[in-house]
Symmetry: C2
Subunit: 166 residues, 2 copies
């Protein structure tokens, strides 16, 4: 199984770095992609190298991870990413989003009737997209795994890794 992490400038550093290294520890080949290729700078200053989404074949991946920070508000307008999210959801493949990451799911229109969590300030946006918001560290609803914030990373990763092993 391969994993794809999609983010952009001003990603929440811990929410990208922790899944990236954790998935590699688990032996999962993991790539980072963004709207354009090149280095991405986290909102605290960490740098990661991203491939361009246009060069990615989503069919190769079984897991999509969407970190938070300020990147998701911008990524929510990337039609290529929204199509990728819809493809993952239609195929029932695992989609994991944390903090502001679920904004991308709302923009993709895949949340109607789904149970989710997210950063507290994003809750109304997700409810407006038809989701039921739960104030829990992590919410698992079928193929969808969502979490609230950096301090929920341990619970978020435990659920993601369970899927990788299943």
């Amino acid at each position: 199984m391969k994993a794809l992490i999609v983010s952009g400038h001003n990603f929440e550093d811990s929410e990208l770095l922790v899944p990236y290294y954790r998935l590699l520890e688990e032996g999962v080949e993991t790539h980072i992609a963004s709207s354009q290729a090149g280095p991405l700078r986290g909102k605290h200053g960490c740098l990661v190298e991203a491939q361009a989404l246009a060069q990615i074949d989503g069919g190769e991946y079984g897991l999509l991870v969407l970190p938070g920070g300020k990147a998701p508000a911008v990524l929510s307008k990337d039609e290529m990413l929204l199509d990728l999210v819809r493809d993952f959801m239609a195929a029932g493949k695992t989609v994991a989003a944390i903090c502001h990451g679920p904004q991308i799911l709302a923009a993709a229109g895949v949340l109607a009737g789904r149970r989710v969590t997210c950063y507290c300030t994003v809750a109304k946006e997700l409810q407006g997209a038809g989701a039921s918001y739960l104030d829990q560290s992590v919410v698992v609803d079928g193929n969808l795994i969502t979490a609230r914030q950096p301090r929920d990373l341990p619970d978020f990763m435990r659920e993601i890794i369970r899927r990788c092993q299943g």
Copy 2:
């Protein structure tokens, strides 16, 4: 088992954040300490809150993690930390250091005859302290786990978690 991560300002962000969240995922109660209490800023800009080493009872912990970055060069002069390292080593408890972290082990005088790795520029300092340097992603020598750099975090964490489970 409880884990203690000790670092200071200008820690390598990924080398502190990844062990911290990974150990919590594993259910290991994990604390961060430094020479003084307060927020620590990573060399890229991430912030974490640290307790003062003077408030820490080393006997409560079974695992000591020493991240890299620029912090270890300063921490190598903290006699309270050097005593803590010597206590861990004398008790055969797990000590895990990455990148520049092993500089602290050299300063504590606990490396004579031990096999280690570290960031390449630190190798001579460790050899001068009596260690055998190996250019491998991770080196396990008894209770001592060392790794070279951020990209070795997956191998480093795999060995640390194996000890937590053992």
